[in-house]
């Protein structure tokens, strides 16, 4: 993150912080609106935590998948085996002469 980006972020944060109290004051919410906002926040919170759980599960599945050997490992192993026996056959054939 370079200096310009950091400054920009700080600016945005300042605007948001100064704007927030005005917004809250301007609303001067009553009892019902507060309840409404609370309910909305709770709903949002539930949704987000559900989504987070899903993502965590996905990460775990991904990690389990990464532990499995891939096609690359299989072919490199077969290559090693054939190469090893090829070299051994070469040595054995030379010794026989």
């Amino acid at each position: 993150m370079n200096v310009v980006q950091r400054g920009l972020l700080a600016g945005v944060l300042c605007v948001w912080l100064t704007g927030l109290p005005n917004f809250v004051q301007a609303q001067t919410p009553g009892q019902e609106t507060q309840q409404e906002i609370l309910a909305l926040l709770k709903e949002q919170n539930n949704k987000l935590s559900g989504e987070l759980r899903r993502i965590q599960r996905e990460i775990a599945a991904l990690r389990a998948d990464m532990d499995k050997p891939g096609l690359k490992d299989v072919f490199s192993g077969i290559g090693y085996i054939l190469g090893f026996f090829g070299a051994a056959a070469f040595v054995a054939a030379r010794r026989k002469e």
């Binding site: 050997p69 299989v74 192993g77 077969i78 026989k96």
Partner: protein
């Protein structure tokens, strides 16, 4: 059923390496030059077979095929199993490198036993060869499970408990391996019976041929 790092006591680890090294040397000594292509192909098959998973309840177990390897390779099977396990350990992270000796014993000894049994009892008819091949294929995994239990018993585990679990968990694998071995050997007996001859039972004849 591979043994991981740090499960076995040090003495068993070192003993396993020593015994495996001796057996690999013997196996390499008994290998004929003409058999090398077969050996290479069977080693590759053994190496890859561990990726074939058989679903079993909530988990899955994979094929091992020590029996088939032994039946096809005879005395050379230990070399094949050792090399296959080394590469599985390096590339697939199956079993630890320090436990490689013990793992090689666990799967190599059944291979040798099965190879000997197959040569001893295979008879001459195709059907009998396939049947004996199927039995040795099943037996290979069962023996491997028992040796696994023996090795783990040295680390303080209860022998009969481990043996029971390992045998039960590998029942589906044994069935599949028996079928695969019977099919493979039956096919080879029909198409290329020469591949099923090894120097196990007739070492003098084989030695005579090689010189």
């Amino acid at each position: 059923m591979h043994i991981s790092d740090g499960v076995l006591p040090l003495s068993v680890t070192i003993g396993g390496y020593a015994a495996s090294a001796a057996l690999v040397a013997w196996s390499a000594h008994r290998t004929q030059t003409e058999e090398m292509p077969k050996l290479a192909v069977m080693t590759a098959a053994f190496f890859v077979a561990s990726l074939i998973h058989v679903p079993f309840g909530p988990t899955s177990v994979h094929l091992i095929i020590p029996g088939l390897t032994g039946a096809l390779l005879g005395p050379s099977a230990f070399l094949s199993v050792g090399l296959g396990l080394l590469l599985q350990s390096l590339l697939f992270q199956f079993g630890g490198l320090t436990a490689l000796g013990a793992n090689a014993l666990m799967m190599g000894l059944p291979a040798l036993v099965c190879g000997w049994l197959f040569q001893r009892f295979k008879g001459s008819s195709i059907r009998r060869q396939a049947a004996v091949g199927g039995i040795t294929g099943t037996l290979g995994t069962a023996l491997a499970a028992i040796i696994l239990a023996l090795l783990l018993a040295t680390g303080g585990e209860d022998f009969f408990g481990v043996a029971k679990i390992a045998l039960l968990a590998h029942v589906p694998v044994m069935i599949v391996e028996g079928a695969v071995s019977a099919f493979t050997i039956g096919f080879l007996a029909r198409v290329k019976p020469a591949l099923l001859q090894q120097s196990f039972v007739y070492p003098h004849k084989a030695a005579h041929v090689s010189h």
